[in-house]
Symmetry: C2
Subunit: 707 residues, 2 copies
């Protein structure tokens, strides 16, 4: 991967499309570059002018003497390919195309975009955009954007697939005095994408937090491998399109995506990425994380001048998965010493309505020392005697002197405005709405600084060494659309990874059925195998608890009749199976996001995700499923099982015997191996697997393959 040096830190820049009209994109960009204080030469390019913006204007990039590291292109879309070819002559390495009029306008624009990509690949030009706002880098005073304001310097690296979000975040940040190290608008991602930028930023010590608005992941697996290799740097992602409605709004194919948004959620969580679902959570959590303060276990102390907000915040804290800090006995004693005698200290620490700045100071001195406290919410409501600005001064001082995350929450409007302005000036994140403060804190708490580099499996490395036996057979069924493997091959694959299957055979006569039951014992299960019977409980194509030869006789011939009626076949195919008396039916499955080359260097997507949850008819009813990305360790699999509510039952709810959770983990490991051996598997469904106190038996297994 290139280091983007000349993009972030060019020696010279050319802007193509500068004009005499100052409000045109090219002119605005040129002005922005100049006014941000860029150190090197900046060349305007436009064949129409001899002079532009008071300096010599060049007809084309190749006519400029001296090297050009970066070219910003702001001409109508149809002229972009020619400009690119001219850049190639000049051996330009980086180009930013801000022009719109490509893929976003349909087929004609898409063709133009593919031409741009072709030229870029042919001449080795790296391209940001098209259809983007440009980029800013504070360290090199580079502001190659047409944004209406320049971002302040800071340590947040932000990138967005929507230029509008860049503008909105920029405006929000300006109002709160929040700065950025890098500020990138990616547009249509014809070449440079989030992988290129994140790779750089993860290594850059000046970047404290990475924030992204991403509509599509260019390669989920590669992105997560990168992030997992740098566990010390927080990454926040806003990824819209979770709901079917939003997918429609993005004009995306619905079916495929609905599944994959669950995979995205599981994958991001597994890699330690903080996923947020709103612009304010994105902005506020980047802001808090830019402080670089670890909130460890998310134990929150509340200091407040009123009981009501304390109670309400306590509710919010619990609902958001944070916890109310248990103050130490020492802290409680010290609080008793410094607070009026009528106050019995506990968390929330209620300083009551007549609290002046000094009482806040005293309480903060004590609570900030408590080792059980990770973050402090300092709540002020404007009451008659409240010293709002003086209290802000006190809180700011403690903020500076402490390593804990101290968050001022000054609830109000007009009265608290001066205090909020003061906090902004001192670069202290502050809030006036309780919910925003707790939301942001909860997002931050999801990022625990790891005490040592986590042992993670690289997503590209397979976790097995055996050689697949049925590669050719599986390949024979693989198409561009999903195909169900036949039952016999499915059994072969299951045997290859030693899945626990019930004793079973496929028979076509009553005599064969009879000879099966002489090997095994009653009870048995009989299932019809016709392909057009998909859900076996929909028509009577399943007989369970068959206990005697007489019952077997009845069931077999009833099934035969059903099969002939439904599938018009003369010979019945009936699966006869030992009956497993399950204490619990579970679902074990796999879905793949991306293509079948997912374990190779050029494969795209997030790969295979394991699914575990309540099985049988209840899978859809409860939606009690957990997901995790392949490959997972035993510990991760156990943790995944534990995330389901079903886990309580498996571990023995209300005096029931615990079930064979270890055997479930075994099954998941075997399935994980199977999909890595046969990456063509696009989905796999064991529903149900019967779990007893000693076994996890795959009684119904379906496998689909796809390219």
């Amino acid at each position: 991967m290139p280091s983007l040096t000349k993009l972030f830190s060019p020696s010279s820049i050319a802007v193509v499309g500068v004009s005499a009209e100052t409000h045109k994109l090219g002119s605005v960009i040129m002005q922005n570059i100049l006014s941000a204080g860029f150190a090197g030469p900046v060349y305007p390019v436009n064949p129409k002018y001899e002079v532009a913006m008071g300096v010599k204007c060049y007809p084309k990039v190749s006519k400029i003497r001296g090297d050009i590291d970066l070219v910003v292109i702001a001409v109508p879309a149809e002229f972009v390919p020619d400009v690119m070819r001219d850049c190639a002559k000049k051996r330009v390495e980086y180009v930013v195309i801000v022009s719109a009029g490509f893929r976003e306008l349909g087929l004609k624009g898409l063709k133009l975009e593919l031409e741009v990509r072709h030229i870029a690949e042919k001449f080795g030009i790296r391209v940001l955009g098209p259809n983007c706002l440009g980029l800013s880098v504070s360290a090199t005073k580079l502001d190659a954007t047409f944004a209406a304001m320049q971002p302040l310097g800071g340590n947040i690296a932000f990138l967005s697939q929507s230029g509008a979000f860049n503008s909105a975040i920029l405006d929000m940040a300006a109002a709160r005095n929040v700065g950025f190290s890098h500020f990138v608008s990616m547009g249509n991602k014809v070449d440079l994408n989030e992988l290129d930028f994140v790779a750089e930023w993860l290594k850059d010590d000046n970047v404290k937090v990475i924030g992204m608005y991403l509509e599509q992941f260019s390669d989920g697996k590669d992105l997560l491998d990168l992030i997992k290799a740098h566990p010390y740097k927080p990454v926040v992602i806003l990824h819209p399109g979770e709901t079917v409605e939003a997918q429609k709004a993005m004009n995306l194919h619905t079916g495929a995506l609905a599944g994959s948004s669950a995979i995205v959620r599981a994958a991001l969580a597994q890699a330690g990425v903080i996923q947020v679902d709103s612009l304010e959570k994105l902005f506020h959590s980047m802001w808090l994380l830019s402080l670089g303060r670890d909130v460890h276990q998310g134990r929150v102390a509340i200091i407040t001048n009123a009981g009501g907000p304390g109670v309400m915040l306590t509710d919010m804290i619990a609902r958001h998965g944070l916890s109310l800090a248990e103050l130490t006995v020492e802290t409680l004693d010290n609080l008793k010493r410094v607070l009026p005698p009528s106050i019995t200290p506990h968390n929330p620490v209620d300083l009551v309505g007549d609290a002046l700045a000094e009482r806040y100071d005293n309480a903060l001195k004590v609570v900030a020392q408590d080792q059980n406290v990770d973050a402090i919410l300092v709540v002020l409501t404007p009451q008659l005697v409240t010293q709002i600005e003086e209290t802000a001064r006190v809180v700011a001082q403690h903020f500076r002197n402490s390593k804990k995350l101290i968050i001022p929450l000054f609830i109000g409007g007009v009265f608290v405005e001066a205090a909020i302005t003061k906090f902004n000036a001192e670069e202290i994140p502050s809030f006036i709405f309780p919910e925003q403060a707790v939301n942001a804190l909860a997002a931050v708490a999801r990022f625990h600084l790891p005490k040592q580099t986590k042992k993670t499996i690289n997503l590209h490395s397979r976790t097995f060494t055996s050689i697949a036996k049925h590669t050719h057979a599986v390949a024979r069924f693989t198409r561009t659309t999903p195909v169900a493997l036949p039952q016999a091959l499915t059994f072969e694959l299951a045997k290859e990874v030693e899945l626990d299957l019930p004793k079973q055979t496929i028979v076509d006569s009553f005599d064969s059925a009879l000879s099966f039951v002489s090997e095994t014992h009653f009870p048995v299960v009989l299932k019809a195998l016709a392909e057009d019977i998909t859900h076996k409980t929909d028509v009577k194509a399943l007989y369970t608890d068959v206990r005697s030869v007489a019952e077997l006789h009845e069931a077999f011939f009833a099934l035969e009749g059903q099969l002939q009626r439904v599938s018009k076949k003369s010979k019945p195919a009936v699966l006869i199976q030992e009956q497993i008396r399950a204490q619990e039916e579970v679902l074990i499955g796999v879905n793949r996001s991306g293509d079948s080359r997912v374990y190779e260097q050029d494969g795209l997507g997030f790969g295979h995700a394991l699914v575990f949850g309540k099985g049988g008819i209840y899978t859809e009813v409860w939606g009690d499923v957990a997901m995790g990305l392949v490959p997972m360790t035993k510990e991760q699999l156990l943790e995944m099982i534990h995330r389901t509510k079903l886990s309580k039952v498996l571990h023995g709810a209300r005096g029931k015997k615990p079930l064979a959770v270890d055997k479930i983990v075994d099954t998941l490991l075997k399935i994980q191996k199977l999909v890595q051996m046969y990456p063509q598997i696009s989905s796999l469904d064991i529903n149900p697997a019967m779990v007893t106190s000693s076994r996890c038996v795959a009684v119904d297994l379906k496998i689909f393959v796809q390219e």
Copy 2:
């Protein structure tokens, strides 16, 4: 109920505790009353002064000549009773006690508070407070508070149990130019409570919305009866203490409340109250509701100058239970006509980045006419050419001309500030954060203006006419703590309301067991009845699927052995029961909030709540239960069942036969009747009830009674 006329519209006021020190509470209140422009005379009272604030000061209220309608008391707590007695002499009807130092300070304060209540009751004085901020009424220019600012006039009636929330909401409202018709701080509610105020406000046409912060409900049932009788007026309630942690913070008994917060939620929803969980949702939803615009089915159109925010808002809208409006063909055609040809109109309507105010105007003209649209979010992100203030002018104009709820969402900070200020000045609710806008809109959408007064059952009227047979027997077991009714009496009650019970009997010998199975058929179930075996699956005290005399023999004597070992009784008590083969096990239960006089005029609390959900060991695991307040109609019961996920299974999931939902409703109606006949029932548990395609059988029934 009194009309509060002299409280809201007094002819004259006395303020007790006015002093020479202008920052003291009494002086601040006096100043506030005067500066708000109160029309009648205001008398300062303080025995220490001859003159206060430039006018004659009275030593006590009774020394004032002329009638006094309202007395505000701002003296130290210990002097309050004397002032009250003096007020009684003067036949004062209303007193506002702002003084703190009562119940909130422990036992001594509580005694003082009870004394105040005693005097109030004795002399018929109505009291607001103590420990409150006072009240403001805009219609009569009354501002009897010690708040640091006066609320603006408006049509929101707000009351709070936390004075700090009054202050914070007041400050927020001032910043957004939001006004109030009434603004009340209730403090410790020694006498006047939410019932008194809500009763008035529901009748007052100047009040468009009622908002409340309530920590405890004075009488839930009465409040809901009031609200249900006025279905045209929206009521928003923030009720903290949903979580165990917050209950601890309120110093309340945990166990009792955890259950009742679920009852509160169900009860408020049933009465059409909008329950919110944060201060910002409370404030923003009151603000939107004060416009009095109906959002009908919550179908939202989005008009935006950027795709990203449109996608993100679509996600939010779907997540919040709103829906994206399906624009009519006519609307789409008209949009095509007025928008640039490159835009294919759909909802979200993306005006793209170069949209000027005129394009917003054109789009709004069209979309505001669409009958499929209930609310319009007008989204602006500050891009290079965006005409922010001009667009604000356009949106404001459409807001005024339309009856639809048009909400400006101008995402940003510095650039959008002037536009937001403009919206505030024109009293148009606007937002800069997408999540806040959608949260508020979702809260508003939960209040659908009913097309005609809903047919509701008054909570006080019982829905049965029969006479209870076992009143004396039940009364015999009723104590101040919960007591389990004996099995035999439980059966009697079940028979009285004709619950569907399995054939069953209690036997103490194998011979009796044998004679039971000759009456019924196998299979049967055997259960131990010893009281110390609470959860029957914990020890082997339950035998199911007993299919033969041999198995019966084995099970009976095994149980006898178990029982003798566990309960040390010589004679076993064994319940023998026909076995019901359930297609589904459900939970049917009742919990009572409040006391056993709940159906009488002076009974307190919300009453009995019916509970329905997944039964057996899964009740706790899935938490899939729905609740509703007694009495409910058949339709309401069906709707309650439908709220559970289990409902899908009951109605026939994945080709399974539908189960007897009508019989579940019957059972719920019978239980509803039972708890009204025996209001001493504090909780009742049928877990499980076995549901087949034709029956709902209560196989395990427990009843607890309490005063």
